[in-house]
């Protein structure tokens, strides 16, 4: 199945019973798949009148206690940012899939990774984060979506799946999740009608003195907890190399192949891939930065995760960057050439410096 379909089926198997969305390429298979599956499993599918309506229908559905999802692609996600900020402020669990395309503006319909800043640094207004998961295969599109619903419910937070057009459109065999969906925790805060209890409010408006500060500290505490417990990354030969190749999503998949090819040639290269883009696995990267000589970041943008890599490395390693901001997906041999070039640069640096 395609990545978009695997993602949608993952949502269904995670217990998602409410989907609202609006067509935009390259994620159109998601709403089409959900339209069919939601009617089969007694859920709700709504083709909304806009992205704004779609995300706010999710807000209503989440407030009512449902596992709810929306999906879109870059320009559509920009429109959803208002609702995502409200979801975060109201502490509502929901899943938002962004199958990225080229930008800024209308950009192109080709795969890109230009929404890293938007996804990981807030995107909408206010001091907030969403958990951001970056799959790199069709299998992960499926698995990460199931995990996204679990994380959303566990921490009462919106979770973003940050994929791209290549992952959405490509076809691969998938092991579908079997068994019942992860059970949701009790949700006494949902709006069900105030029978035998005080009325529940879903709100982010806190105007009384000190109330908002208290609320924001509560959110930050939750973010610290998530950073402590949910940070994930994948690595290969990372602790025993000179040059560490850091990449995420589609780029990581190709870079992994390039690193394997480089090692087959005897080059001392390793691979590092954040699975959670937020929380960024900075601690591990900081450790690695002290062990390696250089870190090469490869992204399909002009250097966005690069900033988090620099921050984590803290000047401990040389940082190199290779970017593809035009909707082009780099090939393994292109990344291999970049690895070769930067390995040579590293060796020059080494020879210039006295031991």
């Amino acid at each position: 199945m395609t990545g978009n379909e695997a993602l949608a089926e993952g949502a269904v198997r995670a217990g998602c019973r409410f989907y609202s969305g609006y067509p935009i390429t390259p994620q159109n298979e998601v709403p089409a798949y959900m339209a069919k599956r939601m009617s089969e499993c007694g859920g709700t599918f709504i083709q909304a009148e806009s992205e704004l309506a779609a995300i706010n229908m999710v807000l209503g559905a989440a407030a009512a206690g449902a596992r709810a999802m929306t999906s879109s692609s870059s320009p559509g996600i920009s429109l959803k940012q208002e609702g995502i900020s409200y979801l975060a402020g109201c502490q509502l669990p929901a899943v938002i899939a962004n199958v990225q395309r080229g930008g800024p503006g209308l950009g192109s319909i080709d795969p890109a990774q230009g929404d890293y800043f938007q996804a990981t640094k807030g995107g909408g207004h206010g001091d907030y984060h969403t958990i951001v998961l970056a799959p790199m295969s069709v299998q992960e599109m499926h698995d990460f979506t199931i995990n996204a619903f679990r994380l959303a419910d566990k921490h009462r937070i919106p979770v973003t799946i940050l994929a791209d057009g290549r992952l959405g459109q490509m076809m691969e065999p998938v092991y579908l999740h079997r068994g019942p969906p992860p059970p949701p925790p009790p949700k006494p805060w949902t709006l069900t009608g105030a029978r035998n209890r005080r009325p529940n409010w879903i709100r982010s408006l806190l105007v009384n003195e000190g109330e908002l500060e208290k609320h924001n500290y509560k959110l930050q505490k939750c973010y610290h907890e998530i950073a402590r417990r949910e940070t994930r990354c994948e690595e290969m030969h990372a602790a025993s190399c000179d040059l560490l190749v850091a990449a995420w999503g589609t780029c990581a998949r190709i870079a992994k192949g390039a690193v394997l090819a480089a090692r087959a040639r005897g080059w001392k290269v390793g691979f590092y891939r954040p699975i959670t883009l937020w929380p960024f696995p900075a601690k591990r990267l900081a450790t690695l930065a002290r062990q390696v000589k250089g870190i090469l970041t490869v992204e399909m943008n002009c250097g966005q995760m690069l900033e988090d890599v620099r921050l984590a490395a803290g000047g401990e390693a040389q940082i190199f960057f290779s970017g593809y901001p035009g909707g082009k997906v780099p090939s393994e041999s292109e990344i291999l050439k970049t690895i070769y070039k930067n390995t040579r640069r590293l060796s020059k640096i080494r020879t210039r410096r006295p031991e």
């Binding site: 709504i46 909304a48 709810a68 709006l191 408006l205």
Partner: protein
């Protein structure tokens, strides 16, 4: 001594909080009517409201039912999500004219067009109250506001939008009525309209819409008494008070 019988009091669904609304504002009155309707239909504990952005943003302080907030204008979308997940609950959205007819016009029309089984309460006082009385889509021609200081003129600002008439062109709405808080008669008619709208939803008949012409003395820059006259004489002239659709059937003038 004859036994005392209570014939009037604060509705159970209305909290005892002191409301923040200005003197003579229509919101407090509509809140009370809404609470009375919830009491009379015995639906307070299965009602979920969606409060708007604007003056009525604190509706949850006053109505003793579950309430969600919504971003400006997205109230019908939030209500849609709630209703689809909880079809057995009574969902109402409560909106002002900026929320409903400006930033949320798209959601307003499409929610009505889907025939969502919700009740929309539209408070039309022709201005944005909370932000300082600016021009709304419903501001009357020649009416002065901070953003049309010389008075609204149609050449560049268009005319006041008649929302009931607009929604009445759609196939799916079940009930549409416009009332006015312009005196005892208007208040009683408003309550009756709210009862009809909520009953329609309870009977799963579909979308019901009640527009209420309401006084805003602060930004009409009139006394509460003169504001009622303004609603009666000026607003009702441009926005005729009547039933537009009943039982899904368009009612002609």
């Amino acid at each position: 001594m004859a036994k005392k019988q209570k014939i009037y009091g604060r509705p159970e669904a209305l909290s005892s909080s002191v409301m923040h609304y200005c003197a003579g504002c229509g919101h407090s009155l509509v809140h009370k009517l809404l609470a009375e309707v919830m009491d009379e239909l015995h639906i307070r504990d299965k009602t979920i409201g969606v409060a708007p952005v604007g003056c009525a943003v604190f509706a949850y302080y006053y109505l003793k039912c579950d309430i969600s907030e919504a971003p400006h204008g997205r109230t019908p979308a939030v209500a849609t999500g709630l209703k689809r997940v909880r079809p057995g609950r009574i969902i109402f959205s409560y909106q002002g004219d900026g929320d409903l007819a400006a930033i949320g016009m798209c959601e307003t029309i499409h929610t009505a067009n889907r025939g969502e089984n919700i009740t929309v309460i539209f408070i039309n006082n022709t201005v944005y109250g909370m932000t300082g009385g600016q021009m709304a889509p419903t501001t009357l021609v020649k009416q002065q506001t901070p953003t049309c200081p010389a008075g609204r003129e149609t050449a560049t600002m268009g005319g006041p939008i008649r929302v009931c008439e607009l929604l009445n062109t759609l196939d799916r709405p079940f009930y549409i009525e416009r009332t006015a808080l312009d005196g005892i008669h208007g208040i009683l008619k408003t309550k009756k309209a709210l009862l009809t709208a909520f009953k329609a939803q309870m009977d799963e008949k579909g979308y019901s819409f009640v527009e209420i012409l309401s006084p805003c003395p602060t930004y009409f820059r009139l006394s509460p008494e003169d504001s009622l006259k303004f609603v009666k004489n000026e607003l009702s002239r441009h926005f005729p008070v009547r039933v537009f659709r009943k039982e899904g059937v368009v009612i002609n003038d």
